[in-house]
Amino acid sequence: MLVGLERRSGSFSVVWRRIRKNRMAAIGAFIVLFVVGVALLAPWISPYRPEATDLMASLEGPSKAHWFGTDIYGRDILSRIIWGARVSFSISFLAVLLSSILGVLLGAIAAFFGKVFDEIIMRTFDILLSFPDILLAIAIMAILGPGQNNLVFAITIYSLPQFARIARGAVLGEKNREYVDAARLSGESEFSILVRYVLPNTLSPIIVQATLRVAYAILIISGLGFLGLGIQPPTPEWGTDLSVARNYLRVAPHTGIFPGIAIFLTVMGFNFFGDGLNEALNPRMKDR
């Protein structure tokens, strides 16, 4: 290296400063915070109950009473989008949390203990990965039937291999570093070395992946909803609502536009944020 600038990533303030400097990441972070805030505050900020129908006010355009207009049953679209955020996030966060914990653990075990572990775990994931993304989710939902829990299960299975592969790569990179051998000489057991020493050093790519995976998960939820395999009406969900709106797009385009924008902005926000996080955590990537 030319000047003695060792990598010094990690500390929260450094990462936060880098994100603020990166315009795309800052926009992403803002959108993510905003949408998550909306989802959390849904009961207090939504003007109507999302299931409240008013057949007299069916398919009304945006107005003072209904900022985003109403759908075919006269339900307030803004309220449905606000509550829809709640549904999308609770499912995607839970699924990403489950798949990251399980995937990272399996990938880390495969890499750290190698040999048979590696073969069995990674070959199984290779089989999962050989299905086209959405097809796997569709297949699982078709077998299990629609419902929130099944949706969480489907997305978890579908995200597992990604986390396992990233964790495996990161652990492979760390496990031959001298501090691992030093820990052995300090009497640490192999499992303790993996959990206490190696895994904390592999977190940054995993956090980035988790952020990006939330975006994918939201897309999958909407996609399945659109196909009628996901959340069932009348529960508010962006993809399901979009699917209903499809029938009235000519007469009432706003019924589809607003859920569409919600999906688009949220997914874009998470992607921007995830990419920014990646650059902030691995600042050297950009130079190469």
């Binding site: 501090y179 640490e188 050093n201």
Partner: protein, 329 residues
């Protein structure tokens, strides 16, 4: 002096895959090495990269299992001690690694790095006792108590190596393997660490095996020096004797290749290309024979044994043995 370490024909082989899809072949990184170390002694194990010195060190601390041969620590054959009881022996044998940037976990504070071994080995039960011991150890390596709460990246290379030394000392070991402890450091820092190791050896009553490619470091630190070449010890002698009266042709080549810190002592250089044979295809007899100016017919027959030429000076070379009249001994 009492013997603390004894190796008997310690051997380590590795399987390597030659090229892609080619068959697996075995190389012998350490080939039937035998020697012993007395309590309080510092042995310098010198050699060039790939000679097996690091593999040997890793076997002694238990990071690698020997393929063959035995290793005795204070008279106990470690291979026959049940795994569970080995822990106590392992505590007494510690290691300082080469690269202080990679040997400290970046996510642990100095306190964590030093307190884990205490906890795992059950050395201090109270947290006050732990703190006190960490403080004392830090001070003994020239660091301050307030360094305890910091992370490795806040330290310079030399300070990191001090932390690594502290980690190996805190469990109260008796034998320390130093694997190139200063080769990643700058000259001015190297001298600090070398002085520190030398004084710690006295105050803490330690025995060292110093693995290094730098003969000047071993001259400063070691009582006895062993020269390793392609997995075998080719010469072993007390420090002064090795520098003043070395006998093995490889030792001579090694010593003459090292530039002196004095422009008036420049030597004539030869332009020949001299390649070390591959471990995949070792010479049948003496592994130095293909490069040796003193080569004779017998050298291709079998590896020469390490024989005493006088006092505690041992050489593995047929030409030297012949001259000493100890021929095929």
């Amino acid at each position: 002096m009492q013997e603390i370490i004894r190796l008997e024909k310690l051997t380590r082989r590795f399987n390597v895959r030659v090229g892609y899809l080619q068959k697996v072949r075995s190389i012998t990184a350490v080939d039937a090495v035998s020697f012993s170390i007395s309590d309080g002694e510092t042995i310098g194990l010198v050699g060039e990269s790939g000679c097996g010195k690091t593999t040997l060190g890793r076997m002694l601390v238990g990071l690698l299992e020997p393929s063959e041969g035995s290793f005795f620590f204070q008279g106990t054959h470690l291979g026959s001690v049940p795994r569970k009881e080995r822990k106590e022996y392992r505590r007494k044998i510690q290691m300082v690694f080469q690269d202080p940037f990679s040997s400290l976990n970046p996510r642990m504070t100095v306190y964590d790095i030093l307190s884990r071994p205490l906890k795992v080995f059950g050395l201090e039960s109270t947290s006050a006792g732990k703190r006190k011991r960490i403080q004392d150890t830090l001070e003994s390596v020239g660091l301050k108590p307030e360094h305890m709460s910091r992370y490795p990246h806040e330290f310079s290379g030399g300070q990191r190596q001090r932390i690594a030394v502290a980690r190996s000392l805190i469990v109260d070991p008796e034998f320390l393997v130093l694997d190139e402890p200063t080769s990643a450091l700058d000259v001015s820092v190297q001298s600090q660490i070398l002085n520190l190791l030398k004084s710690l050896k006295k105050t803490e009553d330690l025995t060292f095996l110093l693995i290094t490619h730098d003969l000047s470091v071993s001259r400063f630190q070691a009582d006895r020096i062993m020269v390793m070449y392609m997995g075998r010890i080719v010469e072993s002698a007390p420090r002064e004797l090795l520098f003043e009266n070395h006998r093995h042709p490889y030792t001579r080549l090694l010593l003459s290749s090292i530039p002196q810190i004095d422009p008036r002592k420049r030597r004539d250089k030869k332009l020949s290309v001299d390649e070390v044979p591959s471990l995949l295809n070792p010479p049948p007899g003496c592994s130095f024979a293909p490069r040796c100016p003193m080569k004779r017919e017998i050298c291709d027959s079998a590896p020469p044994p390490l024989q005493t030429v006088e006092g505690s000076h041992q050489v593995a070379c047929y030409a030297v043995h012949e001259k000493e009249g100890k021929g095929q001994g």
